[in-house]
């Protein structure tokens, strides 16, 4: 049986910055067809871990494979993994549409793909304006559009709901759900638990760089009225 091209497997992932162990022996799997929430307080090591998943930061130990391959060995990375890691990753004087067209050129996608994605994330009206005039929510949508350019098998999104208004979050939930239903593996980080609760099927909870819990949202919240309560019960129990 071959591995699903979007299945993300993290094993023993470790990274220290100086004496700080940002990520410490992390193991988890993101299965295709589900939305996995990567949760934890600010500074828990989520962003560092995501950057290691994507080959941007070199781990001190451990490994990550996507569809069985390390990111750097993916033959067409943008076709396999779409990632949106921060909402500031745009040239302020380049229009949103041109930003997408740059990556269409790099990845060999037809230019019309940029317009399709602007349409999908509801940014067509602002596509020809420089990004410096975009709100946080608009940047969030543009980052998501960039991630989706290659119609990838896996999505890795760092705090994708940050800056979205309630209708934006509802829209994101519908979008992520339809992508998961289409068989994509989706990993989204969040430090806002009530927000995450609306979006995810499975959770990976990180604290001080270590895995605190990996399981389904249903299991975790059984007996509690929210993910937040479950989380605090869990973390205070550990103290």
């Amino acid at each position: 049986m071959t591995t699903h091209p979007g299945r993300i497997a993290v094993s023993g992932l470790t990274k220290a910055f100086g004496t700080l162990r940002a990520v410490d022996g992390l193991d988890f799997v993101v299965e295709p067809g589900s939305v996995t929430g990567f949760l934890g307080p600010n500074g828990a090591g989520k962003t560092t871990a995501l950057r290691m998943v994507l080959g941007l930061v070199t781990p001190d130990a451990g490994s990550v494979t996507i569809g069985g391959h390390p990111y750097i060995d993916l033959p067409a990375p943008s076709d396999t993994v779409g990632a949106a890691l921060d909402t500031t990753g745009f040239h302020p004087n380049r229009s949103g549409r041109n930003h997408l067209r740059v990556y269409c050129a790099v990845n060999g996608y037809p230019d019309q793909r940029a317009d399709e994605l602007l349409d999908l994330v509801d940014l067509t009206h602002a596509g020809r304006r420089p990004v410096k005039g975009y709100s946080l929510g608009m940047r969030q949508r543009l980052a998501l559009a960039t991630a989706l350019l290659g119609d990838p098998d896996a999505l890795v999104l760092d705090e994708p709901a940050n800056g979205l208004d309630p209708s934006g979050i509802a829209w994101l939930r519908t979008l992520l759900r339809s992508m998961a239903d289409a068989g994509k593996a989706i990993l989204i980080s969040s430090h806002v638990l009530w927000e995450a609760q609306q979006l995810v099927d499975d959770v990976v909870i990180l604290q001080d760089g270590r895995l605190l819990l990996h399981g389904s949202l249903d299991e975790l919240t059984r007996g509690y009225d929210s993910l937040e309560r479950a989380f605090f019960a869990l973390t205070s129990g550990g103290l």
Binding site: T48, R51, L54, G55, L56, V57, T58, Y71, I72, L74, P77, S78, V81, A83, L85, D86, T88, G89, F90, H91, P92, N93, R94, S95, N98, R101, V102, Y103, A105, V106, N107, G108, T146
Partner: protein, 254 residues
């Protein structure tokens, strides 16, 4: 590599910086060339007179410093901007083999540097034709050594495009790289190269090496042979490009 080059070219042309810096280079060239013409009869001028082939080569070569400096600045911004605006993340996600990204930028900005040089060269020629004619001097555009000067200026533009990318890859900090480049080229290098006691050493710096490559002659200065100047520039470009590429592949993108 073709797709990467197209992407890098798109990054360049979807903002206006290339145009402003080109205008800056052409304007400064026009200023240098005009001053050179205005002072050619000044007996205290170290530049050979414009009626001589050396004087006419030097006139054309006034294009070299503005063209190379502005090309290097554009190239440095082209790579440091990826870190300043955090587009490096998306860039390296699309091309995780980062060497390819740096090589694409080196190729693109080498070509852009050559184009800047050609534009500035065109400026000196376009200014020289009417102004020299008005002084009853015959401007021999294909005179002795002139084709080599043309080629040298374009080659210098190419080398400085590479140098700009390489420096940017090494330093990553945009403001420091650009300010450093400008201070070096417009202040530090002109000052140290004027110190007679240091001439044996300053001969090998990028600026004087460029002057040598473009066939400059000054009565108070010595330069390397043109090929030696070219070899020095190529050496700087290769060593820095190699170091910048290696560092880019190794450093974490946070």
């Amino acid at each position: 590599m073709g797709r990467l080059l197209r992407g890098e070219l798109r990054k360049l042309v979807t903002t206006r910086l290339w145009l402003w810096l080109l205008l800056g280079a052409v304007t400064l060239t026009a200023l240098y060339a005009s001053l050179n013409i205005a002072f050619t009869d000044d007996p205290e001028n170290f530049a050979p007179h414009l009626s001589t082939p050396e004087g006419q080569r030097l006139h054309v070569a006034t294009a070299a410093q503005p063209a190379t400096t502005f090309a290097a600045v554009l190239a440095a911004i082209g790579i440091t901007g990826e870190f300043r605006h955090r587009t490096a993340t998306t860039t390296f996600l699309a091309t995780p083999r980062r060497v390819k990204v740096v090589v694409a930028k080196l190729i693109l900005y080498a070509a852009v540097g050559a184009a800047y040089a050609a534009a500035c060269l065109g400026t000196t020629v376009a200014l020289g034709i009417p102004l020299l004619a008005s002084m009853d001097i015959d401007f021999d555009i294909l005179g002795p050594g002139m084709p080599a000067t043309f080629a040298g200026i374009v080659a210098a533009g190419l080398a400085f495009g590479v140098l700009g990318v390489a420096l940017g890859a090494l330093l990553r900090e945009q403001v420091a790289t650009v300010v450093g480049l400008l201070i070096y080229r417009f202040i530090a290098e002109p000052i140290v190269t004027e110190v007679p006691a240091l001439h044996d050493w300053t001969l090998y710096l990028p600026g004087p090496a460029t002057s040598a490559l473009v066939g400059s002659v000054l009565e108070n200065r010595e330069f390397l042979d043109a090929w030696q100047g070219g070899a020095m520039l190529a050496g700087y470009a290769c060593v820095l490009a190699l170091a910048g590429t290696l560092l880019t592949t190794r450093r974490d993108v946070i």
